[in-house]
């Protein structure tokens, strides 16, 4: 670390130009307050609602200059939110609960994915259509996700020792190569990749079998909730409007995503398929009635129950709907 100190200023000076080009800013307007939204992964249609909000000026109408900071394999969301370099981060209920248990003062202020995107992907010749089909199968997954599988087993009365876990990195190759019978992955990425590559596959959503964990949740610190409320409300209002526009035309949102990031190597077909696939995860009767991002005491209670199985006990007070209530007003 000793080398970072003396050279940091020079790096900053030298990279100022590229930094400006790297992050997206809304239409230029003076006297706008600048905030950062920390995304949980690389730019993709997964965050298309935000791109719509930026593109249509929803945030500049609110007097907000929003930077969207991409994530990556080595870019956890919680540190920049704790440090204050991002006002809001996109996390997941289990990650947030763990961080809170480690002493971070977070609140979940909205929920993008009502249904958890975790799925078991398999090939049609040897499919996993229900949890009971997992018995005797080899499942490829990151060992870090073992609690997820254990929770699914507990909910469905399966003995986890009857499933063989093969540690793999996060890609579909081990399934296609026959090293494993199924994969624990997101409904919206590896299965989509396989389909685009012409590999037929079957998926089973964990959320359809009792696994209730909110995903793509918006988190902010208690400090921000107390002291930067107006900015939070503005940020989330633009976000809600962006996603409601997304719901009307996911394919157009995919086109906007690809057009906004010409240098990211995004494949239009993949983005469109992903855009369509994530709609049932993000929108439901609940959001149709109350708006994007909504949650209730009942959905929170279901989360608390599943999180207890994941060994992350959590208080329902982690969810704070006051920002959404203010937007609904």
């Amino acid at each position: 670390m000793s080398f970072i100190t003396p050279t940091r200023r020079r790096f900053l000076a030298g990279t100022a130009a590229s930094a400006a080009a790297a992050t997206l800013h809304g239409p230029a307007a003076l006297a706008q307050s600048a905030v950062t939204l920390q995304l949980s992964w690389l730019h993709s249609v997964q965050f298309a609602g935000s791109y719509i909000a930026l593109d249509r000026g929803y945030w500049s109408e609110e007097g907000l200059d929003v930077s969207l900071q991409p994530g990556g394999p080595n870019a956890p969301v919680e540190p920049p939110v704790v440090a204050g370099s991002a006002l809001v981060g996109i996390s997941a209920a289990d990650y947030t609960a763990a961080a809170v248990n480690q002493g971070a003062a977070f609140r979940i202020i909205a929920v993008a994915m009502q249904k958890n995107p975790f799925a078991i992907a398999s090939l049609p010749g040897n499919p996993v259509n229900a949890p009971v089909d997992l018995i005797g199968k080899r499942i490829g997954m990151a060992l870090a996700n073992t609690p997820v599988l254990n929770a699914l087993c507990a909910i469905n009365g399966i003995n986890p020792s009857e499933i063989e876990i093969v540690p793999t990195q996060y890609d579909a190759a081990p399934l296609v190569q026959g090293q494993v019978d199924c994969l624990l992955c997101w409904e919206t990425d590896l299965p989509v990749a396989m389909e685009i590559q012409g590999v037929e596959n079957v998926t089973m959503l964990l959320a359809d079998h009792g696994y209730s964990v909110h995903s793509q949740t918006y988190i902010a610190t208690e400090d921000s909730l107390a002291n930067r409320r107006a900015e939070l409300v503005s940020l989330m209002r633009g976000e809600v409007r962006g996603w409601e526009a997304y719901q009307k035309d996911p394919e157009a949102a995919a086109e906007l995503t690809v057009g906004t990031f010409p240098n990211e190597g995004l494949d239009p077909e993949t983005q469109k398929l992903q855009a369509v696939r994530q709609v049932p995860l993000m929108f439901s009767d609940l959001t149709d009635e109350h708006g994007f991002g909504w949650f209730t005491d009942d959905t929170v209670a279901a989360n608390v129950e599943t999180l207890a199985l994941l060994d992350t006990p959590v208080d329902p007070a982690l969810w704070d709907r006051s920002i959404l209530d203010e937007i609904r007003g």
Binding site: A22, N74, V82, A83, A98, V176
Partner: protein, 529 residues
């Protein structure tokens, strides 16, 4: 005087025989590659050269922009990292008492895992390419520091005495003797640094960055897009090979004359108390820097754990026993892969260097492959090697060996080339065979460089094993540290970092003990006398 025939300049035809062999070999390898890829297309492991060419042609503008982004960060990191490494070596030589402390501190900084530094750098810099540049700099500074240190001391004692006898001080010694002597060693270090900088910049992009080759790699692997994955790997490897040779050419241009005497670094003869004292002093300074820098930058104790937090986590917490047990079992798993891989990589590197000296013709074919092997980012090679050799210990051992093998090979080749001309001439005049020459003249001359690479290989082995564990096997310290992203268990992350640092220092001291013992027997003075 006529120079010995094996170095005499010859009239060179337009295409030398080696060049023809090289071209034919490349074509043969491409043909085999194409055939294997076609035969295994449904297994999604290998992309055929024709597919790669097609992908590059279709996506040239995208790839070009990504390459420029990554290369710019790598070049900046290369500059700063090497400057820092060389400055540190200068400081160590000008103030010899600080050398061991500086070397240990450098080692500790170099061992900081990406999982820990990446997110912190992102918080410090905000958006932009700061983390990529810094990680590229961190990836090169230690591999420049060590050879520069050897080089700055690699002059015969009587040259120093000569300059001093004219009443000149340390600065004149530096300018007239040390700096010129260091150039060939520095060139070797910079050559190794070129691919490492690119790798550092790519891994830096994992912290959330503008799209460069690293971002495209992640995307391509997730999309199961083999042509894209391999195209990026080939481009990264190609650029690394070019950078490697460009630096080498500059080095050869500067290094005009072969050395006339054996240039081994002096054997450390300081009292043994200092041998133990220096690492302890370095550890104390490291702890102070750890605490001080985190306080200076006001990093949140949520993710930036201080030394005291780690102590509490491991020894003064109700769950401490459990924490220690988890950490110990992960450490054991990691060591079972790291240690055999380390030894195999060093052995292969030194062995091939010796083989290439006996049969220089192989060099034309094997060097480009060796450079390419090292240059393909470990994030791409680790999964491939593990696919090929399985997810058990063998695969991880191989990843470690591959990472270490190349720098060792380069350093040893440079070391072998340092064999004094006078001694080679003497062996030639006695008609000694190549084996005798190798064992009695060249290998002893190679040893200082070999031990320098044995030191360098310690952090390289740690990087390789933890990356393979993170990306492929899901075991050991690498996996344990990576899960921090989902569990926010930063106490465990920093405990693992502290343990890795201690293990690195221990390994470093162990190498130093062996080095002193061996160099005493084969030391320069005996051969040069």
């Amino acid at each position: 005087m006529k120079r010995p025939s094996h170095t005499a300049p010859m009239r060179r035809p337009f295409l030398r025989p080696e060049t023809i062999v090289q071209i034919l070999t490349i074509f043969a390898l491409l043909a085999i590659w194409e055939g294997v890829a076609r035969a295994t297309a449904d297994r999604f492991v290998l992309a055929a050269p024709s597919d790669i060419a097609a992908y590059v042609a279709d996506n040239a503008p995208l790839l070009w922009r990504a390459l420029c982004t990554t290369f710019l960060a790598a070049a900046q990191g290369f500059f700063w990292g090497n400057l820092a490494g060389f400055a540190l070596a200068l400081a160590a030589v000008l103030m010899p008492r600080t050398e061991r402390v500086l070397a240990t501190l450098g080692l500790l900084v170099f061992c900081l895992p990406l999982v820990a530094t990446g997110p912190i750098l992102r918080v410090l810099y905000g958006p932009g390419n700061g983390p990529q540049v810094t990680l590229a700099a961190l990836a090169v500074f230690y591999t420049t520091f060590l050879p520069a240190l050897v080089g700055l001391r690699a002059a015969p004692r009587d040259w120093f005495d000569l300059v001093r006898s004219y009443g000149h001080g340390r600065l004149m010694v530096l300018g007239q003797v040390r700096l010129p002597a260091s150039i060939p060693y520095l060139a070797a270090g910079l050559q190794i640094a070129a691919p490492a900088a690119l790798l550092g910049a790519m891994v830096g992009e994992f912290t959330g960055a503008e799209p460069g080759l690293g971002v495209l790699t992640i995307r391509a692997m997730r999309a199961l897009d083999l042509s894209a994955t391999w195209s990026i790997a080939v481009i990264a490897a190609g650029v690394s090979v070019l950078a490697f040779h460009a630096v080498g050419a500059v080095g050869r241009w500067l290094d005009l004359s072969p050395p006339s005497v054996l240039l081994a670094p002096p054997v450390d003869r300081r009292p043994s108390i200092w041998q133990i004292g220096a690492p302890i002093l370095a550890l104390t300074i490291a702890l102070a820097l750890w605490q001080g820098l985190m306080d200076l930058f006001d990093l949140s104790p949520f993710f930036a754990k201080r030394p005291g937090d780690v102590w509490t986590y491991l020894f003064a917490d109700p769950a401490s026993a459990k924490h220690r047990a988890i950490l110990a079992s992960a450490f054991l798993q990691t060591m079972t892969s790291a240690l055999p891989g380390y030894i195999a990589g060093l052995g292969l590197g030194a062995g091939l260097a010796a083989l290439l000296t006996l049969a220089p013709r192989i060099s034309a074919v094997s060097m480009p492959i060796a450079v390419a092997l090292r240059s393909i980012p470990i994030v791409a090679t680790a999964p491939l090697i593990v696919w090929a050799l399985g997810r058990g210990t063998t695969g991880t051992v191989a990843v470690v060996a591959v990472m270490i093998f190349f720098p060792t090979l380069v350093a040893c080749l440079h070391g072998l080339a340092r064999t004094p001309r006078r001694i080679l001439d003497m062996f030639a005049s006695y008609n000694a065979g190549p084996m005798r020459r190798l064992f009695h003249a060249q290998l002893p001359a190679m040893l200082p460089a070999f031990f320098a690479s044995a030191r360098m290989a310690i952090p390289a082995a740690i990087l390789a094993v933890t990356t393979a564990e993170w990306l492929a096997t899901g075991r050991g310290l690498g996996a344990l540290m990576a899960t921090t992203a989902s569990t926010s268990d930063y106490g465990m992350l920093w405990s693992a970092i502290a343990l890795i640092g201690l293990a690195a220092i221990f390994a470093h001291e162990a190498v130093a003990v062996v080095e002193r013992a061996v160099l005493k027997r084969t030391s320069a003075e005996q051969l040069a006398a």
